[in-house]
């Protein structure tokens, strides 16, 4: 099927389009300084993406340490104390260092281009948001070298494990998370201001591409819940250092309070990591099916519904903690309700494909895999939502399988789809399709080998975050470890493909993909440093 891709659009268009005119302004700083001092949304977007990729590999290595230890039962490679640090750091790095910055990087690059804005609304603030991240994550990673080791209580850092029984480095962990949180809040404020205030004249809210819509709603979620995270880690800091009793029953507090606060942040956080993915997939599928997105308005409303519901479901993470029955029922039903707007989205994507003129470029392959594999994660989520059943699954590998299905072939596949989709716009070259297909198939097989067996080991009762396990889980774990290595190694193909695309390749015209209609395809490829200095003429397309 691969060789049947249609001819790429011809190059002629690239110079005749609006918005270009890359006139250099003043003398710009060179070398490292250029990147440190930049206020340009494209450069900052690139910085975010490179940072995220670096963190993806660091977090990936931590995951491979975990999988290597779990290759066989018994303790082989690492001590349990270090194993715990690896699971914790893997989660923290992937969530806060890889997935979230990747989406912010894509937003930086694409939101101004998609709404016809000259840059982000507050360009200096934008650069501040980025540069907080390397500082925060250097501090976070340095905790691994501190006396007593780094965070070892899981990425959810439940009290009292993270307060009374935590290593001394926990205070540094809290402070680094504060910095990452400030970065997220400021970044989100910037994105909202850009979307609400800098759209091209004539572009109404309901004319915006879905990636912009999903990011608008994501940014709202970020501003709403990152302060809750800041609050809860501040209370941890005080419990640890100043003797307060927030999470200590001896003083009248409650460790369960920690879980409520954490998951009031944590559940919207889950959607923060998936809504922009919905936006990317909603851009790619119509492009390569050569049909407008089916049900544009319902996509917008479904995204908003998911965001609102995300505030009402947090305690489904806490079914076994001893909630009153009425709470268990309430959170069970609200959680299951989320399947409705999510289903709307999946059906809309499928309906978009129906009778489309489909081609399977790498971006499309990743987007289609997203639809299928994310749905698997969605279904296992529905299983976990059933409170009485969750008593069996809770804290087992079934949960690990569930959230990795929504995060790896969900969020991360969507990020990769987005990268393959927009690389021609960023670099002016098409990515290598052959390399892309290798990357895609290796990743799909690797991901399923890794995470599908975890459903079974989890249902059979294997607990998560344990360095050793009973013999009956040995086969499943061995398969998972082999799959993880395969997935990890195949990401090197991704890096190779990106570098190759930056350095050269088939030249891409302004409108790199035949079916792509949004504003970013009206500027030349590669997009000049400054685009839309004067707002473009926007002609609404009918959805």
């Amino acid at each position: 099927m691969a060789s049947n891709l249609p001819p790429k659009p011809t190059l002629e268009h690239s110079t005749t389009t609006s918005g270009g005119l890359a006139h250099e302004h003043h003398e710009r700083p060179r070398g490292m300084l250029r990147w440190l001092l930049t206020t340009n949304h494209k450069e900052i977007g690139t910085l975010y993406l490179i940072f995220s990729l670096t963190m993806f590999f660091i977090g990936g290595i931590f995951a491979l340490v975990v999988r290597a230890e779990l290759f066989q039962p018994g303790l082989q490679l690492v001590q349990p104390e270090f194993f715990n640090q690896m699971t914790t750091m893997h989660g923290l790095i992937m969530v806060f260092g890889a997935v979230m910055p990747a989406f912010v990087g894509l937003a930086n690059w694409m939101v101004p281009l998609q709404v016809g804005a000259p840059d982000m609304a507050l360009p200096r603030l934008n650069n501040f948001s980025f540069w907080l991240l390397p500082v925060a994550f250097t501090l976070l990673l340095s905790t691994l070298l501190m006396p007593g080791g780094g965070p070892n209580f899981g990425w959810t850092f439940y009290a009292p494990l993270s307060t009374t029984y935590a290593p001394p480095s926990t205070t540094f962990f809290i402070l680094s998370l504060h910095m990452a949180g400030i970065s997220s809040i400021l970044g989100a404020i910037n994105i909202i201001a850009t979307i609400l205030n800098l759209r091209a004249p004539g572009m109404r809210l309901m004319d915006m591409p879905l990636f912009v819509w999903t990011w608008l709603i994501t940014a709202f979620l970020l501003i709403a819940v990152m302060p809750i995270l800041a609050g809860v880690i501040t209370m941890m800091l005080m419990d640890i250092n100043f003797g307060t009793s927030f999470f200590n029953a001896a003083g009248g507090g409650d460790p369960v309070l920690f879980q409520h606060l954490f998951w009031f942040f944590g559940h919207p956080e889950v959607y923060i990591m998936i809504l922009p993915a919905f936006g990317i997939v909603s851009a790619i599928i119509p492009t390569f099916a050569r049909k407008p997105l089916f049900g544009y308005a319902s996509m917008v409303y479904a995204t908003a519904s998911i965001a609102i519901l995300s505030f009402l479901v947090w305690a489904h993470h806490m079914f076994v903690v001893g909630l009153p029955l009425v709470a268990e029922l309430f959170f069970m039903f609200t959680t299951m309700l989320i399947a409705v707007p999510t289903g709307v989205k999946v059906f809309n994507w499928i309906a978009t494909l129906f009778q489309g003129s489909i081609t399977f470029e790498t971006a499309m392959l990743f987007a289609l895999a997203f639809v299928v594999l994310f749905s698997i994660g969605g279904f296992s989520g529905l299983m976990l939502a059933i409170a009485p059943a969750d008593f069996q699954y809770h804290d087992t590998y079934f949960v690990v399988a569930h959230f990795h299905y929504v995060l790896v072939p969900g969020a991360i596949f969507a990020i990769m789809a987005g990268v393959y989709y927009w690389l021609p716009k960023w670099t002016g070259h098409y990515p290598d399709e052959r390399l892309g297909r290798w990357h895609f198939w290796m990743s799909v097989i690797g991901v399923n080998l890794t995470f599908f067996p975890m459903h079974f080991s989890g249902l059979a009762g294997m607990p998560r975050r344990i360095p050793d396990y009973a013999l009956q889980f040995a086969d499943f774990n061995m398969v998972s470890s082999v799959g993880a290595l395969m997935f990890g190694v195949s990401q090197l193909l991704f890096v190779w493909g990106v570098i190759k695309c930056v350095r050269g390749g088939e030249k891409a015209p302004a409108k790199a993909w035949e079916g792509a209609e949004d504003l970013e395809w009206s500027v030349p490829s590669p997009a000049p440093l400054h685009t839309f200095d004067t707002p473009p003429d926007f002609k609404p397309v009918t959805h």
Partner: protein
């Protein structure tokens, strides 16, 4: 909607230096808390943060006065400040939520209420009450008495509520072009704000010296100082912001139609005031 003259700054040192300064401050704070030394690094970081903020805002003020900002830029600032205040609202929401949770669930459950009732097994002699003067464990000594709302807190409520009114008068005066009046009412606002902080400081002294109400005195002390402490910090920030606005009025900045910095500071001040009303009701009165 874009007008075509949106100002995009070329490049700036302040963001990168700012993040380095924040990082230095955090490392110093962490070292101070964990190892007991690092105060110098932290102070250095804090001074650096404040310097960067000063220089960064100075750039913005200069750009604004050179007329580089159009109406669209003004809207970006408005959206930015509005959403920033929303994030602050959510920050306090976490603390108020904790207070409600503790009062409604955690403390009564320790006394055996609720469907499960098992938490009461931990300390069978514990009786729930609020304000909690008798923490469950004997290792934690509770306060002798709670803070009465009808003394210093009431005075502080009057201070803050009237400071919101004086600030509004100052703003209206600025809009009408009565700069001297605006300046005087702003000075009055600042005096009220600083008086609030002084009274709050005195209340803290009373709490520690006479009530036995400390951070370590169980959940009542924890929530009390968490909420009032972060509120006091925000009053301090708001007062500094208003002081900057006072300086700018005296220097002749702002016009009748164009003074968003003043408005933003006023929004922030009103937000701090509203939080105090919530605090007065739920930390002190009820």
């Amino acid at each position: 909607m874009s007008g075509g003259s949106y100002y995009v700054p070329e490049s700036s040192k302040w963001p990168a230096l700012g993040s380095l300064a924040v990082g230095t401050m955090m490392v110093g704070l962490g070292a101070l808390l964990v190892h007991g030394r690092g105060a110098l690094v932290m102070t250095l970081g804090l001074v650096a943060v404040l310097s960067v903020m000063y220089l960064w805002f100075r750039d913005v003020v200069h750009e604004s006065r050179r007329g580089l900002y159009d109406a669209q830029m003004d809207r970006s600032f408005r959206w930015g400040m509005g959403w920033f205040i929303f994030s602050e609202v959510m920050f306090f929401a976490a603390f108020f939520g904790s207070l409600f949770y503790v009062r409604t669930f955690a403390v009564p459950w320790l006394d055996g209420e609720g469907a499960k009732g098992v938490a009461a097994l931990l300390w069978p002699d514990f009786t729930a009450s609020w304000p909690l003067l008798n923490p469950p464990s004997a290792d934690i000594s509770g306060p002798h008495e709670a803070v009465s709302p009808w003394q210093l807190p009431l005075v502080n409520t009057l201070f803050l509520v009237s400071s919101s009114i004086t600030l509004t008068i100052s703003h209206e005066a600025l809009k009408e072009g009565y700069r001297l009046t605006a300046r005087n009412w702003l000075i009055g606002t600042l005096v009220l704000g600083i008086s609030f902080l002084v009274v709050q400081g005195f209340e803290y002294y009373e709490a520690y010296a006479h009530y036995g109400l400390t951070l370590q005195a169980g959940i009542y002390g924890s929530t009390f100082f968490l909420l009032t402490g972060f509120h006091g910090l925000h009053v301090t920030i708001g007062a500094i912001t208003l002081a900057v606005m006072l300086g700018r009025i005296i220097k002749g900045h702002f016009t009748r139609d164009d003074h968003f910095a003043f408005e933003a500071a006023a929004w922030y001040w009103h937000f701090v005031d509203v939080v105090w009303i919530g605090l007065f009701l739920f930390v002190y009165v009820f």
